[in-house]
């Protein structure tokens, strides 16, 4: 007998079972796992490192953890918001389906799909035991840890999907909460230590023992902590750990909360179209396009203002980078490190590079996607410009909103010119170091193209999937090339970076063209 509450759930599972794309994704994943084995096994045999099985397992499990976190977030967070965005949730509510049925159908079916994606790896991952250096017990414990974390993540994202109006907000908030979940215990412990050291707080009295215990429990609920323990030699703890139980319990709690909040949060159907950011003036004097930006330059103005956030968005980014630099100084101060000019210069250089790279990646996932998603590409494409010009102008718009962050980089270079000079001299005198820097640069350019392209072909999750593809593809390729050059002789290994650069340029060119083709097609499909 069919339960009405499971009707949507059953339908979602049927669709997923029949989906050729999902089937191919599983096959692709397995192929990558098998291919990853090759360089690990070869390098282990050559004595580069021992315990190849452990290394293989570690690599796969950490990739899974990062992939689950990044791709899973937008996948699960869109469960209810996608219905809100398409204004179809009201229709679902009008049927006989109750909130539990909708939550199960929209979210739990996705969870089952993701669990299957993990479980399908297990028979192949067992090869790690054959490779040596890891036991069956460790493999089982690692995958149970991942499954419990997946359950927690799914229900956490579901909760935000119920509460918030669109996927972007739900994903961003869920990401922030996960960030706190993973790093919070370490920060809390650091603050507690500081209080004891500098303010002479007695951690053995008052509420402090409870606080210490809470932080300890919090730390033990994180999968990263648990996986670190699993990968230790001689691991003999039970497979079902405190982390597994607590993650499952938290998952159930989040599901119940989502159920409880479903009705009040979805009763009123609201337009999920992109909103004006809260820090923008609402309707007063409209912003004017500068004279120098008329013609195709107006496209850059639009994307600078509405994708990058405009001048106020830029100010906000400067503030965030400034706060991060201040945080680095605080941490250094806490650890009794000496705050020198060299330290400040280095901090400015690295923080500005990392934040610019992250922001550009985020904007690469939005710059074309937003036009397709809100069906505005057709009006843009009837302007008297070629698709190439339009695309470049859009890119210039988002660069205008991000590249000024490199001002921190310039300040850093000015603070420590000698260090930068030494670094550059070192790079140019070692071809391999120079090659690796070029590899990193071209890989990043390839990554931005991949993200932009995936945002045009995938409904969601372009950025995390690009991260996963880049990571897996990069590691496999690097491994494969290493094995190849190792086999033909060590001396030729110096050319590896240049081979990789050539391949990156080739792939970037392909994606570059594919983005243009896809944009034309997307405009015609609106």
């Amino acid at each position: 007998m069919k339960l009405p509450a499971l009707a949507l759930f059953e339908r979602a599972l049927r669709l997923e079972t029949r989906s050729a794309v999902i089937c191919w994704a599983r096959i692709g994943l397995l192929a990558i796992i098998l291919i990853t084995l090759l360089p690990i096994q070869t390098l282990a045999r050559s004595g580069w490192y021992g315990a190849p099985g452990l290394r293989f397992l570690q690599e796969l499990v950490w990739v899974n953890l990062v992939f689950i976190t990044l791709a899973g977030l937008s996948y699960f967070a869109s469960a209810i918001t996608e219905e809100k965005e398409e204004m179809t949730l009201g229709l679902l509510r009008m049927t006989n389906l109750n909130p539990v049925a909708i939550l199960l159908g929209k979210s739990t079916s996705r969870l089952i799909g993701a669990i299957l994606l993990l479980l399908v790896q297990v028979p192949f991952v067992l090869l790690a035991v054959t490779l040596g250096g890891v036991g069956l017990h460790q493999v089982a414990a690692a995958y149970v840890t991942l499954l419990a974390y997946l359950f927690l993540l799914c229900n956490l994202a579901l909760l935000f999907s119920v509460v918030f109006r669109n996927t972007a907000t739900a994903t961003a908030i869920a990401l922030f909460v996960l960030f706190l979940f993973f790093f919070g215990p370490y920060w809390a412990a650091g603050i507690e230590r500081s209080l004891a050291t500098y303010y002479h707080v007695d951690l053995h009295h008052s509420i402090w023992p409870v606080v210490t215990k809470t932080i300890e429990i919090w730390r033990r609920t994180t999968p990263s902590e648990r996986l670190d323990a699993i990968f230790q030699t001689g691991f003999a703890e039970p497979v079902i750990s405190f982390q597994v139980m607590s993650d499952l319990l938290l998952g159930v709690l989040f599901f119940l909360l989502a159920w409880l909040l479903f009705d009040p949060c979805t009763r009123e159907e609201k337009d999920a179209a992109p909103a004006r950011r809260w820090f923008w003036r609402r309707t007063s004097r409209p912003s004017r396009i500068p004279q120098r930006l008329i013609g195709i330059g107006a496209i850059s103005w639009k994307d600078f203002t509405f994708i990058s956030g405009g001048r106020i968005g830029l100010l906000l980014k400067f503030t965030i980078v400034g706060l991060l630099i201040a945080l680095c100084n605080y941490v250094a101060y806490e650890n009794d490190s000496k705050i020198t000019l060299e330290f400040e210069g280095g901090t400015l250089i690295w923080i500005s590079l990392i934040t610019t790279a992250v922001w550009l990646a985020l904007e690469a996932s939005r710059v074309f996607k937003d036009e397709v998603r809100w069906k505005t590409l057709s009006s843009l494409m009837t302007l008297p410009f070629s698709v190439t010009h339009l695309a470049y102008r859009k890119v210039i718009g988002v660069l205008m909103g991000t590249l000024p962050l490199l001002a921190f980089f310039i300040v850093g270079v000015v603070l420590v010119p000698n260090d930068v000079g030494d670094f550059l001299a070192n790079v140019f005198s070692h071809p391999q170091t120079f090659g690796m820097m070029l590899v990193a640069f071209f890989q990043y350019i390839l990554f931005l193209h991949l993200t932009a392209y995936l945002s045009l072909v995938l409904k969601r999750g372009a950025l995390p999937i690009a991260v996963a593809i880049q990571y897996l593809g990069g590691s496999f390729f690097l491994g494969f090339m290493s094995v190849f050059f190792f086999a033909i002789g060590n001396r030729t290994a110096e050319v590896i970076p240049f081979f990789i650069i050539l391949i990156c340029i080739f792939l970037t060119g392909m994606l570059h063209r594919a983005i243009g083709v896809r944009l034309v097609r997307a405009a015609a499909e609106e």
Partner: protein
């Protein structure tokens, strides 16, 4: 053909296929300058595909499409400067205000700030949206968003407007207001190519029409031509002063008469006859000879919706197609290619 008589839109043997679905098959028609041309057809007939090709969003796979005599593939930038395309969905940046949105498109078309101010003011006045210029587009009603879409199409003062279902989803007042704006645009000298399912409004608005079904043109010509012809037969309504027993028999004997149908409660006959074989005067003479007195005699003209139903019925081949909007319809015998 002189330049002034040159059609604004000229489509010849246009075909387009999506994977295995043939969306357009040998479509040919033209649209004259300064007219409102209706483009109708059932869902999936190929209207939107044709419009997207005209708007340079899709490349034609076969055939030629010229707008203002320009090839839409090779000269697409010049074509885009002369056309305004309003798609069948709201293509709006809803986080912008009305002013910002129009200002953005005006700037993209290369206007300086002074010109933009004037143009944006003009199009807002024309679409009666001047009072809402500072409002976020997101907060506007559907009818207002439709007007903003139309205002956007007008900012660069295009000569040809391509409107895909502009009245879809609007309430009656908004629809009437939109139709008034379209008439005003025609008075301003624009050529308007409009696709719509609201046939009653198109019938009032359009000078000419193209009916498309399953990727083929069923009719293309003037509205008058569509109303007065069904192909090879023509229908007349004959009203008598009083019933007469010999009249029906006399009418049936006239050469070329296909059918005579008597009205149930009035002395009226619907007479269908071959256009080529019969002169309406022969019918009048036969009626008078039978001894009946004639009260009225008129051709039964079809409304657009009736013509649409007749021409898009499954299994009916294309029967009429004319290329010159000013000429009477060209009659093509059934079974022969149009």
């Amino acid at each position: 053909m002189s330049e002034s008589n040159q059609p604004i839109i000229e489509i010849r043997d246009l075909s387009h296929t999506y994977k295995r679905h043939q969306a357009l098959q040998g479509v040919s028609f033209s649209v004259g300058s300064g007219s409102i041309h209706g483009f109708v057809g059932p869902n999936g007939a190929g209207k939107t595909t044709t419009l997207k090709i005209l708007a340079t969003l899709l490349k034609p796979q076969r055939g030629s499409v010229r707008v203002f005599g320009l090839d839409i593939v090779n000269d697409y930038k010049n074509v885009r400067r002369k056309i305004g395309f309003m798609p069948d969905h709201f293509s709006l940046y809803r986080q912008m205000t009305v002013q910002e949105y129009l200002d953005f498109f005006a700037a993209a078309y290369g206007m300086d700030m002074g010109e933009r101010n004037r143009v944006v003011g003009d199009v807002l006045a024309l679409t009666d949206m001047a009072a809402r210029r500072s409002d976020l587009i997101k907060g506007l009603s559907r009818g207002m968003q439709q007007r903003i879409s139309l205002a956007r199409v007008l900012v660069h003062d295009p000569t040809l407007l391509l409107l895909d279902e502009p009245a879809s989803g609007l309430d009656p007042r908004a629809r009437i207001e939109l139709m008034e704006i379209i008439q005003e645009l025609r008075r301003m000298g624009k050529t308007i190519f409009i696709s719509s399912h609201i046939l009653s409004e198109l019938a009032l608005l359009c000078d000419s029409v193209t009916i498309l079904d399953r990727g083929s043109v069923r009719y293309s010509g003037s509205m008058a031509g569509l109303s007065h012809s069904t192909g090879e037969t023509v229908d007349y309504l004959l009203s008598l002063v009083a019933e007469h027993p010999d009249t029906e028999g006399a009418l049936r004997k006239v050469d070329g008469v296909v059918a005579v149908t008597k009205a149930a409660k009035a002395p009226q006959y619907r007479v269908s006859f071959q256009r080529k074989q019969t002169d309406p005067n022969t019918l009048l003479r036969a009626t008078l000879d039978s001894g009946a007195q004639i009260l009225g005699f008129q051709e039964i003209v079809r409304q657009l919706n009736q013509a649409f139903m007749d021409l898009t019925e499954p299994g009916v081949p294309p029967v009429i197609q004319i290329t010159d909007q000013e000429q009477p319809p060209l009659v093509v015998p059934p079974g022969e290619p149009s």
